[in-house]
């Protein structure tokens, strides 16, 4: 009797949590695509991400909820905001004009079609599969320990590859966002600093290396100990 009451109350709480976070998620998503200011879009994205984190908690993915808040809301959105401030693109975009004729109705139609397909697939209970292939969802130590166990045993190589991926991403970001002030102004200083510091001695060592090796060792220093 009491357990049934508790179960009903818990299910009511679950439904309330789901409805509130679903409203937050959908409102945030609509705010992302409908607001004219990119800063507002980024803040609306934060609302959606928090709603998704709440739903992760409701589905007992506690570690992923924490990571969602830390990585997405803490790092990715801040990165977005940094880029917005850095580029100064926080000006309003006129959403009334439609540069490509008929793009928006087609896009909305495609979105509704995709949603209808996904809802059909999701609601039809076709989502079947063998339960607990990679390991049970509930083990000893709770969600974090279970996830850690499967990450460091079954998916160990994939986990190590993610470190490689992150290194590549960091190198790529540094390389891409390095300040390059145009081709003509960049090659200007390089060809200037080239003759000033290097080619001066090099043109000396060019003729000198044919006749005298002492001059090259004086300049280069490396080959002769």
């Amino acid at each position: 009797m009491t357990s049934a009451l508790l179960l009903a109350a818990a299910s009511k709480v679950d439904v309330a949590v789901f409805v509130v976070s679903a409203i937050a998620i959908l409102a945030g998503a609509l705010g992302v695509i409908l607001s004219r200011n990119p800063v507002h879009s980024a803040l609306m994205l934060v609302m959606t991400l928090f709603g998704v984190a709440v739903l992760f908690v409701a589905q007992e993915a506690h570690f992923l909820a924490a990571v969602q808040v830390i990585v997405y809301a803490g790092a990715i959105v801040v990165l977005f905001l940094f880029v917005i401030m850095l580029l100064g693109v926080d000006r309003l975009e006129n959403l009334e004009v439609e540069p490509l004729k008929g793009q928006r109705p087609i896009a909305i139609f495609l979105g509704l079609a995709a949603m209808a397909q996904l809802v059909f697939l999701g609601g039809a209970q076709w989502a079947s599969g063998a339960p607990a292939v990679a390991g049970a969802a509930e083990g000893e130590g709770g969600n974090v320990a279970t996830l850690a166990r499967v990450l460091f045993t079954r998916y160990l190589y994939a986990f190590e590859l993610t470190s490689l991926l992150l290194v590549i991403a960091v190198v790529g970001a540094v390389l891409l966002s390095r300040r390059q002030t145009g081709p003509e102004t960049q090659t200007g200083p390089e060809t200037q600093t080239g003759p000033e510091t290097q080619t001066g001695p090099e043109t000396q060592t060019g003729p000198a290396s044919d006749t005298d090796t002492g001059a090259t060792t004086g300049v280069e220093g490396a080959p002769v100990p």
């Binding site: 695509i33 990450l151 300040r179």
Partner: protein, 101 residues
């Protein structure tokens, strides 16, 4: 009224569709990137829902990897946006016609 997995799947479908529509209709490259993030979040929600429905931890492990890839993708993508916008300032997706034949 029980809360089974199809509620979450329907919500994820709606979120994915909103992200897809936003990716198609917006011109600002940053907002398009945010729409990609919306779609990735919808897929993550689907993975977590299936992990709970099937009692399998593999779905949550996959979400972990999706998070890592999304972080790397955002970093590189924003680097590209910074590089492009420095070259021609205020570039939207329509202005990037470098590959036009």
């Amino acid at each position: 009224m029980t809360l089974d997995g199809s509620w979450y799947l329907t919500l994820a479908a709606a979120l994915f569709s909103i992200g897809a529509v936003g990716l198609l209709i917006r011109r600002n490259v940053l907002v398009m990137f945010m729409c990609v993030e919306l779609m990735l979040n919808a897929v993550n929600l689907t993975f977590v829902t299936f992990a709970r429905m099937l009692g399998d931890i593999g779905g949550q492990a996959l979400v972990f990897f999706v998070l890592v890839v999304a972080a790397a993708e955002v970093v590189v993508g924003l680097g590209i946006i910074v590089a492009v916008t420095r070259k021609n300032s205020g570039a939207t997706a329509d202005d990037l016609t470098l590959l036009r034949g």
